[in-house]
């Protein structure tokens, strides 16, 4: 057998391993990444979807944060980015990221991982946040820059 064809076998081997790893990797670890509206629609269509862990991307409702009763429990509300009327109550257990900010001027994007509990509260085990307004200032918020934050 020529070394070129042996090399081709090696190449095909690497490609097969890559495909296998990527394929099984995706199917073992994938989660749906949904907006609150999409999530609600999925559950309406198929109630068993309630049991499926999902990733949610949504916007934090300003001034909605409350410290939960238990240790490291945090309660807040998020709304759909496209449709602010669709909201979701969240109970997150874990350390709050530093970029979590529910101040009135802030636009905090959140990524949550978890599922609904029986009361329709989204129990999140993972919370990633991204603070929008510090990168993209809205003129209104800048306008208030002179007001002292603590009076």
């Amino acid at each position: 057998m020529g070394s070129n064809s042996r090399f081709m076998i090696g190449l095909v081997g690497v490609a097969a391993v890559v495909t296998y790893l990527v394929w099984t990797g995706v199917s073992d670890t994938m989660t749906y990444f949904l907006t609150p509206s999409e999530y609600d629609a999925r559950i309406e269509a198929d109630p068993s979807f309630r049991q499926v862990g999902v990733r949610i991307g949504a916007i934090l409702v300003p001034e909605s944060y409350e410290k939960g009763a238990g240790e490291l429990e945090h309660r807040f509300v998020v709304h759909d980015d496209d449709d602010p009327s669709v909201t979701m109550e969240v109970l997150y257990t874990g350390v709050l990221p530093d970029t979590f900010n529910d101040a009135p001027d802030m636009l905090t994007e959140t990524v949550l991982e978890g599922r609904y509990d029986e009361n329709g509260v989204f129990e999140a085990t993972l919370l990633l946040t991204k603070c929008g307004s510090r990168y993209e200032a809205s003129p209104e918020s800048l306008d208030r820059g002179d007001e002292p934050a603590i009076t």
């Binding site: 020529g2 070394s3 070129n4 042996r6 090399f7 090696g10 190449l11 690497v14 490609a15 391993v17 890559v18 790893l21 990527v22 099984t24 990797g25 995706v26 073992d28 670890t29 994938m30 989660t31 749906y32 990444f33 949904l34 999409e38 990733r55 991307g57 410290k67 240790e71 490291l72 350390v95 709050l96 990221p97 530093d98 970029t99 979590f100 900010n101 529910d102 101040a103 009135p104 001027d105 802030m106 990524v111 990633l128 946040t129 991204k130 603070c131 929008g132 307004s133 510090r134 990168y135 993209e136 200032a137 003129p139 918020s141 800048l142 306008d143 820059g145 002179d146 934050a149 603590i150």
Partner: protein
């Protein structure tokens, strides 16, 4: 100054267009005078963009909040250091900064090739100028002009996010950008080779140091980002497979592949099309990384704001380049034929090829995982995302395979390795690797992939150590030098080779440090003052942390602090007292309600003790309640072995890369039969 800067930005566009036209016309018509003029426009654009950048720095230093960019990223009380680095703190400024660096490298490339490589220069200059035109058009017409004004003047700016006020975060983006922009030079030379038709390995020889320079900055930029995540984000990790992190890793992977595959082209005249493909891919990935971090296209914890217009502009630009290069490669295909063929499966060419295949496969896997939310939405109508579990599962086996090849590549013979070559070079190192793995396994390290990494790491280190030893000894004998002197001369005489080995050592150490991740310890505990927590390190020692109490501080306008709560802990290791540690939470006055957690890290050569204040009774702190319950605090305690090795290995990598890049020295590639440092066997004829 700001007016001059803004004007300079506008003026540079026609200058760059003029320069690009001159360069291409000069190249087509062989008009040296036109090419010379074109080269002068490179300096002119650099001067203009420098003015434009200084103008932005000036607006920051003078608190000109009528500029949207300054108002968004600065405030009156921001330290001067962060006002200067404001140039790259946000989207619009960093695009200008990107352009500034690229103009700087372009000028350096033109200057250093004043009297050589003249056949390439028209097209090099032309390509670089087209890229500059593109960035200028984006800056001026895609709503990202850093000179855009608000229309009114706020009294103060929003201030820079406290998380970004960190040393590593200040140097991380510029270092990455240096890596991205330095790679435009090899790309420009590749384009010049395609356009001029000079397709031997000359363009590679010319750009060798540029490739290394770019790779060096990319590596350091990535490590600086890891360090920032570790010290600032407070979750105790350094890599999260976040889209933005991945975006910076992708060009690093293909640049690493390119760094190796060019050596095959130099020594064996093979892989010409492949190398063109890699230089194009790497360049496009640097653009992609710049664009991804700036477009917010994919969910990420730290992308910048969403900006779809710019997304289409970037994608269109990347698509056009890809199409153009593909056409050029097909047109030049007859000249890109390999001068040699792979003779044996067991040879250095083959090891390098597998290195390339695996690096490209890793690139593909990382890219797939990163873009999956977009792809699945586009093709299946619903977004699917994968997390760190996916990337670890896929990339760890690739990483181990690459590690193994790092031990094989340096000593296996070119063309065809004989049995004797294999025996002489690999018998002992493989034995050392197996013994290491077995020893650790019986010592209780029962994580298969990690133990494999340790074993293969030992194998590679032994191979490289033996190479250094053999080379030094031979030189000492032949030249009659002392060992230290011989070692020094050995490295200096072939810096590229030995510098490369030093980089390999760094990568091995880094991989070994990564492989200890399964032993990271973490506990979370809520403590009242006087209570203790215990955590046992995987190496057996026990840390006892006693919470001494919370000290608070309020409304410190000087430091922009609304409040600050510092938890003090006394620490003992196996009963022996260590210096006390403190971790704190802060809330800043501006931006309103922004918080920051300062971690406490006790770093040693063996392991890090990492403590964060996970939660305090914020309300009680704010109300300044003085009863003991206000002091209750929740801590996360972590013990992480070998983290300091990661930072140390980045330093070793820097030394190795600098040795490889240092100007001068014996850099001519040795012919294939000799370049295995005397370890190669004469290749048998025929197949």
């Amino acid at each position: 100054m700001n007016i001059i800067g803004e004007l300079a930005l506008w003026v540079s566009l026609p200058v760059a267009i003029w320069g690009a036209s001159l360069a291409f016309i000069g190249g087509r018509q062989n008009r040296g005078d036109l090419v010379l003029s074109a080269e002068r426009t490179v300096y002119a654009v650099l001067a203009l963009i420098t003015l434009a950048s200084l103008g932005i720095v000036d607006t920051f230093l003078n608190d000109r909040f009528e500029y949207t960019y300054v108002a968004s990223y600065s405030s009156l009380d921001l330290p001067t250091f962060y006002k200067v680095s404001g140039l790259w703190a946000g989207q619009t400024g960093s695009l200008l900064f990107w352009l500034l660096l690229m103009c700087g490298f372009s000028a350096l490339a033109v200057w250093s090739n004043k009297t050589k490589n003249r056949e390439f220069m028209p097209y090099v200059v032309g390509t670089l100028m087209v890229l500059q035109v593109f960035f200028l058009v984006v800056l001026l017409f895609a709503d990202v002009n850093p000179y855009a004004r608000l229309g009114f003047t706020p009294i103060d700016g929003q201030g820079l996010n406290p998380q970004l006020q960190n040393y590593w975060m200040t140097i991380h983006p510029p270092t990455l950008y240096l890596g991205f922009t330095a790679f435009t030079i090899p790309f420009a030379f590749a384009m010049a080779a395609l356009l001029s038709g000079r397709l031997d390995s000359r363009w590679i020889v010319v750009t060798r140091k540029w490739i290394l320079l770019s790779w060096f900055f990319l590596s350091n930029g990535i490590v600086f980002g890891m360090r920032w995540a570790y010290e600032e984000l407070g979750w105790g990790g350094y890599w999260f497979w976040d889209p933005v992190e991945n975006a910076s890793l992708l060009p690093w992977l293909t640049a690493t592949a390119f760094l190796h595959s060019v050596q095959i082209q130099e020594t064996r005249g093979m892989l010409k099309v492949w190398n063109m493909g890699l230089v194009l891919t790497t360049f496009l990935l640097t653009i992609f990384a710049t664009f991804l971090t700036r477009s917010g296209l994919i969910e990420s914890v730290h992308t910048f704001a969403e900006n779809t217009k710019i997304a289409f502009i970037f994608l269109g630009f990347m698509g056009s380049i890809m199409a153009l290069v593909a056409v050029l490669i097909i047109y030049r295909l007859p000249q890109l034929k390999s001068s040699n063929q792979i003779e044996s499966f067991i040879s250095r060419e083959s090891a390098f090829l597998f290195n390339n295949l695996i690096l490209v496969a890793t690139t593909f896997a990382v890219m797939w995982g990163t873009l999956l939310p977009l792809l699945s939405e586009g093709f299946m109508g619903q977004e699917i995302s994968v997390g760190p579990a996916f990337f670890n599962k896929v990339n760890v086996p690739f990483g181990i395979a690459i590690l193994f090849l790092m031990g094989v590549g340096p000593v296996i013979a070119w063309r065809r390795a004989s049995k004797k070559n294999l025996q002489r070079n690999f018998l002992v190192p493989i034995g050392v690797g197996l013994a290491t793995a077995a020893g650790l396994w019986f010592a209780g390290a029962r994580v298969g992939l990690s133990v494999m990494t340790f074993g293969i790491g030992a194998f590679v280190l032994w191979v490289i150590g033996a190479e250094f030893w053999k080379g030094t000894k031979a030189r000492a004998r032949i030249e009659g030098e002392g060992l230290v002197r011989a070692f020094w001369h050995l490295v200096m005489r072939n810096r590229r080779r030995w510098g490369g080995y030093i980089v390999h050592v760094a990568i091995v150490v880094m991989f070994v440090a990564f492989a200890t991740a399964p032993w990271y310890q973490e506990i979370r505990q809520t403590l009242d003052p006087g209570e203790s927590a215990e955590i046992t390190s995987p190496l057996g020692s026990t840390y006892t942390m006693t919470y001494e109490g919370l000290s608070t501080n309020f409304n410190d306008r000087e430091d922009n602090l609304a409040w600050q709560a510092v938890a003090l802990l006394t620490v003992e290791k196996d009963g022996e007292p260590l210096p006390p540690m403190s971790t704190e939470k802060r809330e800043y006055i501006r931006p309103e309600r922004s918080t920051s957690t300062e971690v406490a890290i006790r770093s040693t050569a063996v392991e890090d003790l990492y403590i964060t204040l996970a939660d305090v009774n914020t309300r009680a702190v704010q109300m300044r309640i003085n009863d003991p319950t206000a002091q209750t605090a929740t801590f996360t305690f972590m013990v992480k072995p070998l983290v300091s090795w990661i930072w140390a290995s980045a330093f070793v990598l820097t030394i190795g890369a600098l040795i490889g890049m240092w100007p001068g020295g014996a850099q001519t590639p040795a012919p294939a039969s000799r370049s295995a440092a005397g370890t190669a066997e004469p290749a048998p004829a025929g197949d």
